[in-house]
């Protein structure tokens, strides 16, 4: 021990003399010059302003252009109200289903070894990589009049395309990966130790899930559900293909915005847009709060 101490001493003082101190000033190895900093920060700020803040502000400015009265009046329109109701209905159905699916898929991938696991993982990402229009078209091909299932469905009086079920299906497909993608890295990171502990203490599989697994993933799950919900309410492409744009029946909020805009009803279009923009802002605030409060637990999961 004594030998180590004496040999370590000169080393340490030598390194203190050499590293970091130049011209009597301490310079961190990873710091850039003030000019470089200014350019980098400036570029980022200008970009944010032009592409994110201005459009968002424009939505609210346009919506309120003719005053608050006109703005509020546009929500009195029955078709607008129907669109809001439908959007909420779709989210209420699609989000819980994707939550259950996401947990099941993440559980399977993170806690078990099986053949085709890599394939399943890739498959979960499919809705992210496929254009939403294609996602919609898939359902048209599957359930449309010219498809195999079409005539059978028609003879049994089941409507899927151009009706609420089609919109729900398309939304589920598109928002499918959010929860699973959030949970897979988190659950892989946590491993199976806690579950094994619960089982060894006599808990059934369901008890282990309810008392141990779920509390361990709850913040990641909430985070995934939040993103999933935002996308479910805002989805345009896939829903547009399967909805049929029937006013008051199969128009969701994003579709309704487009229709109002095409009819030159700008105030109403932007008024409905403010709801969607507001949803986005609330989602962002909640997401930031979750990251701030439970950052450690979400750190393992991928950011979107």
């Amino acid at each position: 021990m004594a030998l180590e101490a004496t040999s370590a001493l000169p080393d340490r003082s030598a390194s203190a003399n050499l590293s970091g101190v130049r011209k009597g000033r301490y310079i961190s190895a990873t710091t850039e010059s003030p000019a470089t900093k200014a350019v980098l920060i400036g570029t980022a700020l200008i970009f944010l302003l032009l592409f994110l803040v201005l459009p968002l502000a424009a939505v609210f400015v346009e919506a309120l252009r003719k005053g608050a009265g006109e703005f509020l009046a546009s929500f009195g329109d029955p078709d607008t109200q129907a669109a809001i109701r439908l959007t909420l209905l779709v989210a209420v159905i699609a989000v819980p289903l994707n939550m259950v699916f996401g947990i099941a898929a993440a559980w399977a991938i993170a806690k078990f070894e099986f053949k085709g696991k890599a394939f399943l993982t890739t498959l979960i990402d499919l809705p992210f990589s496929v254009s939403p229009v294609i996602s919609g078209l898939v359902y048209v091909l599957l359930f449309g009049a010219g498809s195999v299932l079409g005539p059978w469905l028609k003879s049994h009086g089941i409507e899927i395309l151009f009706a609420v079920p089609g919109i729900v299906l398309a939304t589920i497909f598109v928002t499918f990966p959010f929860v699973a993608r959030e949970l897979i890295p988190l659950m892989q990171d946590q491993g199976t130790g806690d579950e094994e502990a619960a089982l060894s203490l006599g808990a059934s599989g369901w008890q282990a899930f309810w008392y141990v697994t779920l509390p361990n993933i709850k913040w990641g799950l909430l985070y995934g559900v939040l993103l999933c919900n935002a996308r479910a309410m805002g989805e345009f492409g896939a829903v547009s293909v399967v909805s049929g744009h029937i006013r008051g029946f199969t128009n969701t909020m994003p579709l309704h915005v487009e229709i109002l805009y095409n009819e030159y009803n700008f105030v109403a279009a932007f008024a409905v847009s403010t709801l969607l923009a507001g949803l986005a802002l609330v989602t962002l605030v909640l997401k930031s709060f979750l990251e701030y409060r439970y950052g450690d637990e979400i750190a393992a999961s991928k950011k979107h």
Binding site: G193, D194, E196, A197, A198, L199, S200, L201, G202, A203, S204, Q207, Y211, V212, P215, N216
Partner: protein, 348 residues
């Protein structure tokens, strides 16, 4: 509860982690599974717990074949290497978990569970920490909570996977003594896994030395240390020196000289001599001894270790000398092991 492991085999993707292992654990015994990583000791522990299924063979709890029982049915207390405490539950809730998840008929009341948790916390000397969360505890405290949690279900067998692996040396020694006390007080049949021989030899009634999925030797600390029965155990437990020798006429030969050691039970041919560096007697002259030149010396605590180069092939062995011994670089030292074993070359 006696535990009997009968010809258990475990394969992971056709790779054998355990090869036909048999072991009888007596009721109330404290057993250590000792071996290097990859020796199958943790696999064996998990098989006893029911966290893994054996590929072949059977595990008996008492007279009952438990091989096909689930981990819940086996009622074992398992302490995990990294404790696996439930981080969102308080210490008291962690300890009470095993009681809370019991089916309604056998589940104690809430207050009863709380009382049990406090009792167990007293036992592990952590009274008053009921409301803490695992993140607020030190490593040693977590270890104690993990043990209390495993004891709460009144297990038939207590299994510990590297119980002190993640702790620093000081806490380790303390907890070692403490675990022995708890074991003596509660009388549970206890099996623990370790790669630390000092821990195994000091703590366990019997030590099971494992290597490459097989049991090399089972015995008390004295048996294992004084009469290792294989080259592996000789090399793994304590310090040992080895030297290639030849057997002829029931005697040991190095090159063309006998070294004055009889080996009556070993067949003629090439063999390896094993002995402990401290178990040697130094000789002055050399009529029947091992002699070599000093290649290196180092001071180890109260003794001096010397590396000798033996014979024309410059085979190196280590022996221990008293600090006052005048041996220096290049000087010649002659010695003879006091206790030794010879294993035929193919086994070494």
């Amino acid at each position: 509860m006696d535990v009997s492991i009968r010809k258990v085999r475990k394969e992971f993707d056709r790779f054998p982690a355990l090869r036909d292992v048999s072991l009888d654990i007596r009721s109330g015994e404290l057993i250590a599974l000792l071996g290097p990583s990859g020796s199958g000791k943790t696999t064996l522990l998990r098989l006893i717990a029911g966290l893994e299924r054996p590929t072949a063979g059977a595990i008996y709890f008492g007279d009952e074949d438990a091989s096909h029982k689930t981990v819940q049915e086996r009622n074992v207390g398992f302490v995990f290497q990294h404790y696996a405490l439930f981080r969102h539950m308080t210490v008291a809730d962690n300890i009470g978990f095993g009681l809370k998840v019991r089916p309604g008929a056998t589940r104690p009341t809430k207050t009863e569970i709380g009382r049990r948790a406090s009792e167990l916390l007293d036992l592990v000397q952590l009274s008053g920490l009921e409301k803490r969360y695992p993140a607020q505890l030190s490593g040693g405290q977590r270890q104690r909570v993990a043990l209390a949690r495993a004891l709460a279900i009144e297990p038939k067998v207590l299994l510990l996977d590297e119980p002190f692996g993640a702790l620093d040396a000081q806490v380790r020694r303390e907890l070692r003594r403490w675990l022995r006390e708890i074991h003596d007080a509660t009388g549970h049949t206890t099996v623990f896994v370790t790669h630390d021989q000092e821990e195994a030899l000091e703590l366990a009634d019997r030590v099971v030395v494992m290597s490459q999925g097989q049991i090399e030797q089972i015995g008390t600390a004295d048996d294992i240390y004084d009469t290792p029965n294989s080259p592996f155990v000789y090399g793994f437990i304590g310090e040992s020196s080895s030297l290639p020798v030849r057997i002829g006429n029931g005697e040991l030969w190095i090159a063309d000289r006998t070294i004055g050691l009889p080996a009556p039970d070993v067949a003629d041919g090439d063999a390896t001599l094993f002995f402990r560096p401290q178990d040697v007697e130094l000789l002055d002259g050399c009529g029947g001894c091992i002699a070599g030149t000093v290649a290196a010396t180092r001071r180890v605590a109260g003794t001096r270790r010397v590396e000798l180069e033996i014979g024309g092939e410059r085979q190196r062995v280590e022996i221990e000398l008293p600090v006052g011994h005048p041996a220096s670089q290049q000087s010649r030292v002659a010695f003879r092991p006091r206790r030794y074993r010879v294993f035929p070359a193919r086994a070494a």
